[in-house]
């Protein structure tokens, strides 16, 4: 016996008589039933086509509904809370004296599968995740057709009730990590999750190390690759970016494209990426140290050249470097945030004002422009945006070290950098994983890739 009129009253009151929720009365074989659904979340034609039409043709009650209704997904529910939940998920509720059914009538309006925007490859799959988590799961399942690809669903967010799915391959995954993530997602007490980034704080990403500890990707092939290595993918509804945990520093230097090339070629590419990582970290700091403290480390011709270039610059070298790096960061940020219309004018301003004009005005030396340009291009080969952002902190740290103590300062800062990275701990695993502690099996797929079959 269902107190259905009472439920309807309660629902109306709780939603403040929201016009979006439709309550339709209908008589089926003399009995009164209610059809309740949220107009915006549901697909009107499928309600009228599959539910209302089939209700008219129904001969008997209850069991017949499950049997005769055209809809593909029919769930019998019992409580009021479930009614609310299903309505908010785009289901249509059939409410009568004897039963409550939830029928899936989701509005399928969603973005079609697009090409990846942030992670380009020359050769590789061209599909990217979308905002719809079911499409995302489809994209992964399409690649891993195995019964051991397990999916666990959570509803996170006290208000948003966002669907968060974790995917892993049973048997390959580290159960300890799985248990921790499971615990943390179940106990998450947060008002709402609107993007996958919020999950990072729930699963406990530390702030002491600015380097990212989760891979954020929009490529299903990358997720599948990492799943096969025993990692866990976290899909958050309404976010086209999927998280992969745990991510070690070395993982950010890999792309899926590496595995489609000969390993001798991809090894060189990886060496290049590591090199550019260190160039992006050290170049401004080295410039400051060499110009202000350790001039003896430069060849004489170089030194004279530098001195001549700097002879018109009134600022100390570290001020010059800080100024230019700040300008570059501002330029980068505005380039990301601004719309495409101002993009071209931005590049003109960047190239002319910060480059040519600043030099001829005697504010900076030409060599400083080269240093900034080198730093800028060296932070580009990484698809992980957060890696570049984390790298900025250390770059500033190195620059401060260089401007106070020269080369020794860089060494101190580097010691701090190494300590900080090694102290970072991901679910009990060290961040510098294949290198420290050395794991020879994983080293084969680190800076260089030896094993081709993997």
């Amino acid at each position: 016996m269902v107190m259905y009129t009472k439920y309807i009253e309660l629902l109306k009151r709780e939603t403040n008589y929201n016009k979006d929720i439709i309550y339709r009365e209908k008589n089926v074989r003399g009995k009164k039933i209610y059809i309740i659904f949220s107009e915006s979340l549901t697909d009107g034609s499928s309600i009228s086509e599959y539910i209302i039409k089939s209700l008219d043709e129904i001969k008997k009650d209850k069991k017949a509904i499950i049997n005769d209704i055209y809809n593909f997904k029919v769930i019998e529910i019992n409580t009021y809370d479930e009614i609310v939940e299903y309505i908010n998920n785009g289901f249509t509720i059939i409410l009568s004296k004897n039963y409550i059914f939830a029928l899936e009538t989701k509005n399928k309006s969603k973005r079609s599968i697009d090409i990846p925007k942030g992670e380009n490859t020359i050769r590789g799959a061209k599909d990217a995740f979308t905002e719809d988590f079911q499409t995302n799961i489809y994209l992964i399942k399409k690649r891993i057709k195995n019964k051991n690809l397990w999916i666990k669903e959570y509803k996170v967010g006290n208000y948003t009730k966002t669907t968060v799915d974790i995917l892993y391959i049973n048997g390959k995954v580290d159960n300890k990590i799985l248990k921790t993530i499971n615990e943390k997602l179940e106990n998450a007490n947060i008002d709402g999750i609107l993007n996958s980034g919020a999950i990072k704080s729930i699963i406990g990403e530390s702030n002491i190390n600015p380097m990212p500890t989760t891979i954020t990707t929009e490529r299903p092939d990358r997720v599948s690759k990492e799943l096969l290595k025993g990692k866990i993918a976290i899909i958050v509804d309404n976010d086209p970016y999927v998280l992969i945990v745990p991510a070690f520093l070395n993982d950010f230097f890999k792309t899926t494209e590496d595995y489609s090339e000969k390993n001798i070629n991809s090894s060189l590419t990886r060496i290049l990426r590591y090199l550019s990582f260190y160039i992006a970290l050290f170049t401004p700091a080295l410039y400051i140290a060499l110009i202000t403290y350790n001039q003896e480390m430069l060849p004489t011709e170089f030194l004279v050249n530098f001195a001549m270039q700097r002879s018109t610059v009134p600022f100390p070298a570290f001020f010059e470097a800080f100024m230019m790096i700040t300008c570059f960061e501002i330029l980068r940020e505005s380039d990301i945030r601004s719309s495409g219309f101002v993009g071209s004018s931005l590049s003109i301003v960047g190239a002319l004002i910060l480059g040519e004009a600043a030099v001829s005005a005697g504010i900076v030396s030409p060599i400083m422009i080269i240093v900034v340009a080198l730093t800028a291009i060296s932070s580009l080969p990484f698809s992980e945006y957060e890696l570049v952002n984390g790298l900025r902190w250390y770059r500033i740290l190195f620059m401060i070290g260089a401007s106070t103590l020269g080369m020794i300062g860089i060494v101190y800062a580097f010691i701090y950098f190494i300590i900080n990275l090694s102290a970072t701990n991901l679910f009990g695993k060290p961040y510098l994983m294949p290198f420290v502690p050395t794991n020879f099996k994983s080293l084969k797929d680190s800076i260089i890739r030896i094993n081709r079959k993997e």
């Binding site: 001039q295 003896e296 004279v304 002879s311 103590l405 020269g406």
Partner: protein, 354 residues
């Protein structure tokens, strides 16, 4: 507390006063120092000019020459502040030139200064000069005289071997080693250009004489320092061979040393008609050279024995083999030379038949 620390630590970083901080614009990049003593120490210092001129990009401007004097070298160096706004910066020094007369008096003062000075790299070359105005001469091929000398010493070391290249570190280790004496290259001005024409030999820290460049080749041969050189025989007609590989082996007994030279080279120039296809004629040339090198070395040793200064470092070799050494004059020196001429080039014979 935590917040206080967070504010204080970055402040501390900026309050360190930046030990050793020097802005590039304030440096007087010193590339050469000439030291002379005439009651006071008189210094001529070559400083690179780093002010931008409207000349072509990448052109090195001509250096500035300062003169300064003082009762000690350090005082003279500091007195340059009277003449130049920039502080001297000696890390990029390339040549130290010591005046002949000062070298005759002794160079230990100079060694002492540069040895203890932390503000200079010890890899500059040291030469002795017979003329005063070394740094003022116009250098033809390079921007500065110091660079010209530096590059010539390097080239000489690699391709000629007729001077003894001595960096300050070498000089110091030779000075501190009682078993070996100092040899320095000597320069003077000839036709407005600096030339390396002799080698100055020292006893302890005092200059006592010179040997010619040709003798220096043999000195380097004995010491095993030759990388590549050219030797010309004066027997009848001139034959020049290029030596690519020179190995020196010592066999030491009490008061007796045997020096084995094995040289590998090729014939580069012949001014006489010799049938090079015939192996005997090659053997003949080899024999001529072996004999001549042997004689020249013996002459050199005899000459040096008169000075009684062990520039070869024989005492060091004896010391290493744990054998007695009673002065250069009292030891027997046997020299054997083995020369192999490997390449003779194509068809040298036919060229003469035409």
């Amino acid at each position: 507390m935590k917040i206080k620390l967070i504010i204080l630590i970055p402040l501390l970083l900026f309050l360190t006063g930046c030990y050793n901080y020097r802005e590039l614009n304030d440096l007087g990049i010193t590339t050469a120092i000439y030291i002379k003593k005439d009651k006071l120490y008189e210094l001529t210092i070559e400083v690179l000019k780093t002010e931008k001129e409207d000349s072509k990009e990448g052109d090195m401007p001509k250096p500035v020459i300062f003169k300064s004097s003082g009762t000690t070298i350090q005082e003279a160096l500091r007195n340059t502040i009277l003449k130049s706004p920039k502080r001297l910066y000696a890390h990029h020094m390339q040549v130290l030139i010591i005046d002949e007369n000062l070298a005759k008096e002794g160079i230990s003062d100079i060694l002492d200064l540069f040895f203890r000075d932390p503000e200079s790299r010890k890899q500059f070359f040291v030469v002795v000069s017979k003329d005063d105005e070394i740094l003022e001469t116009d250098s033809n091929l390079t921007d500065t005289n110091s660079k010209s000398m530096y590059e010539r010493i390097i080239a000489n070391k690699n391709f000629l071997g007729n001077i003894v290249p001595v960096t300050f570190t070498n000089l110091l280790s030779k000075y501190l080693n009682p078993n070996i004496e100092i040899v320095l290259p000597s320069i003077n001005i000839k036709d407005d250009e600096i030339v390396f024409n002799e080698s100055a030999i020292f006893k302890k820290d005092k200059l006592i004489g010179y040997i010619s460049n040709e003798d220096t080749i043999y000195l380097n041969l004995i010491c095993g320092k030759i990388k590549d050189t050219v030797i010309t025989s004066k027997d009848k007609n001139y034959i020049t061979v290029e030596i690519n590989e020179a190995k020196t082996k010592y066999k030491v007994e009490d008061n007796k040393i045997e020096i084995k030279l094995s040289l590998i080279g090729n014939i580069s120039e012949i001014n006489e008609q010799i049938d090079l296809i015939n192996p005997n004629s090659i053997n003949h040339i080899e024999n001529i050279f072996e004999e001549e090198i042997k004689n020249n070395i013996n002459n050199l040793i005899r000459k040096i024995s008169d000075y009684d200064t062990d520039i070869f470092g024989f005492q060091d070799i004896f010391y290493k083999y744990n054998k007695n050494f009673n002065g250069l004059k009292n030891i027997t020196i046997n020299i054997s030379v083995n020369m192999k001429l490997k390449y003779k080039g194509n068809g040298a014979y036919e060229l003469y038949e035409r």
